[in-house]
Subunit: 285 residues, 2 copies
């Protein structure tokens, strides 16, 4: 009788402990409360997979919730993945078309998520909207460009004079990028830079290039018949312009490292860590 | 009097010679007559710049009418440029937004076109629609893959077994590509390939990758949160899949060389030549 009572109390205590653990939904509510900008009605910052009421065992922030990232997060005991970019190969993470095609790549990813009770939530729009932009801040830190930043603008920099080729090599080495590409003359001497990571699109990318105080645009990715042709034309016309193309993941990744540090300040109950997304590209030799 | 008559006759003969010269509009009408597919009502295959009634002095076919290509065409005496990809940095070659911004890159390109009386016409949709696809045929020739082609399908190939890294290096060397990138394991052994040049988009690209008879997709370009993430996930899941990414221009360029050869058969009056578009990228070291 007493043993049964002790067991009952023990189980209740265990259940209580579990109830005390923050759920994925509660963790995200804290993000919404702390991010410092009004939450948008239309946003891609939503749950993409898993049960939001799952008790969180650990949080992994990452640039893109690739299969490789999910495997490493699960192995580390993290079940809430906060990803800047899509999980299911499209900006809206719509899986209907792939499911209709019985796509095996999607099915294996979904199965891994289900088996490991992972919850995936995207943090894109509001991390960019934050003042200052959480991605931009992380990238400036990773590049070591705080001291070169133009006052009042976190996209513009004046660096000591160097060539485009030298600058590209330095960024490549500092961020550990395998496949970094340049458009324009590698021997062009530059001091004035704009940093536009990710995929802001051709209008935003050309608006930086149109400015007299921008000689090289350090960017994530762009379409070859849009920003890339425009950059190549600017150079061919003899303008003092070049593109340094990091690739999408290395161009934004450090901003999700910063995100992990920020989360720790208001989700103290669980481990929070940054899991870097691997660059997908190898340069052919 | 007699001298005046002779001069008049000479001038009339000159004018006659000029009138005999084919106009850009007439050259394009011959393409429409010879291409072998019904001309679509909705198509990007239209004049993009210049006066279609200009007498043609020479025709340059090219992959993308960059500023550099226009300069080389004009220097060679070609005033009709037939381009596979856009001239003005967008699929529809709309210039309104750039003009509103007083964009200097666009203005210099338009000024060069006007000063040299160039006429630019795009040949995209119908050159692809032709049976066999004019771009695909040119690329198979350039790659030397005729002997590996699967009967009845100009996208599928079975090559002697090699690794993805070795295959990527061979393609890089053969096509003279500076910045060729691989997604997946470079040591993966492959024999079964799909060739999908240009930018067919994620649905088309994944449909090739879903097939059991495709181990490596040789492609032009793709968005990093769509086809690239999908390819990286397929590899991370342990599937026998890889991407070999040539870049848009080198992945389709040879098809416009074939176009020049084809044009010569029914536009015999003027010089027709292929002007290769330069690859825009340099890999950073």
């Amino acid at each position: 009788m007493i043993r049964a009572l002790i067991l009952t109390l023990f189980c209740a205590a265990l259940a209580g402990a579990q109830n005390d653990r923050v759920t994925a939904r509660q963790a995200i509510e804290r993000i919404q409360k702390n991010v410092g900008v009004a939450w948008r009605g239309q946003t891609v910052d939503t749950f993409k997979a898993g049960d939001p009421d799952t008790a969180v065992t650990g949080i992994a922030t990452t640039m893109m919730a690739t299969y490789d990232v999910l495997v490493r997060a699960a192995a580390a005991g993290d079940n809430l993945i906060i990803t800047h970019e899509p999980t299911f190969y499209g900006h809206l993470d719509e899986t209907a078309a792939l499911e209709k095609e019985n796509d095996a790549v999607l099915a294996a990813k979904q199965q891994f998520i289900a088996q490991h009770h992972l919850v995936i939530w995207r943090f894109h729009d509001h991390w960019h909207m934050r003042t200052p932009d959480g991605i931009q801040t992380g990238m400036i830190r990773a590049l070591g460009w705080e001291k070169f930043q133009k006052p009042g603008n976190d996209h513009l920099f004046v660096i000591p004079e160097t060539t485009v080729g030298q600058l590209a090599s330095e960024i490549k080495q500092r961020l550990g990028i395998r496949a970094l590409r340049v458009v324009g003359d590698p021997s062009l001497r530059v001091t004035k830079l704009a940093l536009a990571p990710g995929y802001p699109g051709f209008p935003a990318e050309r608006h930086w290039l149109q400015r007299d105080d921008v000689e090289a645009l350090v960017m994530g990715e762009g379409l070859e018949w849009e920003t890339i042709e425009y950059g190549a034309d600017a150079a061919a016309e003899g303008r003092h312009k070049a593109l340094i193309i990091l690739g999408h993941i290395p161009s934004e990744q450090a901003g999700m490292d910063d995100c992990a540090q920020w989360l720790k300040t208001f989700v103290p109950e669980v481990k929070v860590e940054f899991i870097p997304t691997k660059e997908p590209f190898w340069p052919a030799q």
